[in-house]
């Protein structure tokens, strides 16, 4: 099992959605860390555990962007099969990611495209 702890491996202060929004964005997290780690886990056929605890708090845009992109690139089923989320301090983020951001990733992307 592979593990990715955001507070330790990325930042204690996660930012917003896009790289243009400022440092430590969801887009940067996906590009720099999440995509690579998930790909490795997929190749090794193990589960990637992403630990959300011990940061100073998340923006919903950060999580929807990073996990939404993950689902778009690797497919919803594959992500659901090989991803485990730990969020003891804010358990609602886990539900939100697994039941909204990942399954609705394609809808979100088309909405963002329309808004742009």
């Amino acid at each position: 099992m592979a593990t990715l702890k955001i507070s330790k491996d990325f930042t204690e202060y996660p930012g917003a959605r896009y790289i243009t929004d400022g440092p430590f964005s969801g887009e940067a997290f996906f590009n720099e860390l999440l995509r690579e780690k998930f790909d490795e886990a997929l190749r090794a056929n193990v589960i990637l555990t992403v630990d959300l605890d011990d940061t100073a708090g998340y923006a919903s845009s950060f999580l929807s962007e990073s996990f939404g992109r993950l689902a778009q690139e690797f497919g919803v089923d594959s992500v659901k099969k090989h991803l485990k989320i730990i969020s003891r301090q804010e358990p609602d983020w886990k539900d939100r990611i697994l039941n909204d951001y990942i399954p609705n990733a394609s809808k979100r992307q088309s909405q963002a495209f329309v808004n742009a």
Binding site: G57, A59, S60, S61, E90
Partner: protein
């Protein structure tokens, strides 16, 4: 002190008066013999009655203390919402502070659910919907793209109105939780 003494004397007098009154009626007889079984039953009944009264009183007192603590915690949470209201009213706030504030809010309500949810005699049914409302506000407010290289969240008039409404709804829910507890 004097009042207590007078009260005791009056009670003794009342007891004597009732005794004399009862002895004057022929259909009441006073037996000179006392059955040990009856004495034992009377003492036992008295002890059980005292125990039940004491236990009920302790339980009631405990429930009242827990309810007072719960109410205090909810009040504290309502007061803490003022910070969020000020940010919304000002139209901007630090992104880091807002995210930390919202995170702490979720942690706090989850803690209330854990601590008070299992307490007997305390109605905490509304805490679940309060948590959902708070989290909905958290999702909506942090969905806004930040300004100043991610340092600030700025709210336009429409957003200010929407978030104020959500905070007011939360407050109403919290007051309702106190009333229904």
């Amino acid at each position: 002190m004097l009042k207590r003494l007078i009260k005791s004397v009056l009670l003794v007098c009342l007891g004597c008066a009732i005794g004399v009154f009862l002895c004057q009626y022929s259909y009441f007889t006073l037996s000179k013999e006392i059955s040990l079984t009856e004495v034992f039953i009377a003492i036992l009944t008295g002890i059980i009655a005292l125990y039940i009264a004491d236990d009920l009183s302790a339980k009631l007192s405990r429930t009242q203390s827990v309810k007072a603590l719960y109410t205090e915690d909810i009040k504290g949470f309502i007061v803490s919402l003022q910070t969020l209201e000020n940010w919304i009213e000002e139209g901007e706030c630090s992104a880091k502070e807002l995210k930390r504030y919202l995170r702490n809010g979720t942690v706090k309500i989850n803690l209330f659910v854990q601590i008070y949810g299992s307490q007997k005699g305390l109605n905490t049914n509304t805490l679940g919907s309060i948590l959902n409302s708070f989290n909905a506000l958290k999702y909506d407010i942090t969905e806004i793209p930040p300004s100043s290289k991610g340092e600030l969240y700025k709210f336009n008039l429409e957003q200010q109105h929407q978030f104020s409404q959500q905070v007011n709804g939360l407050k109403a829910g919290l007051v309702d939780a106190m009333i229904k507890s």
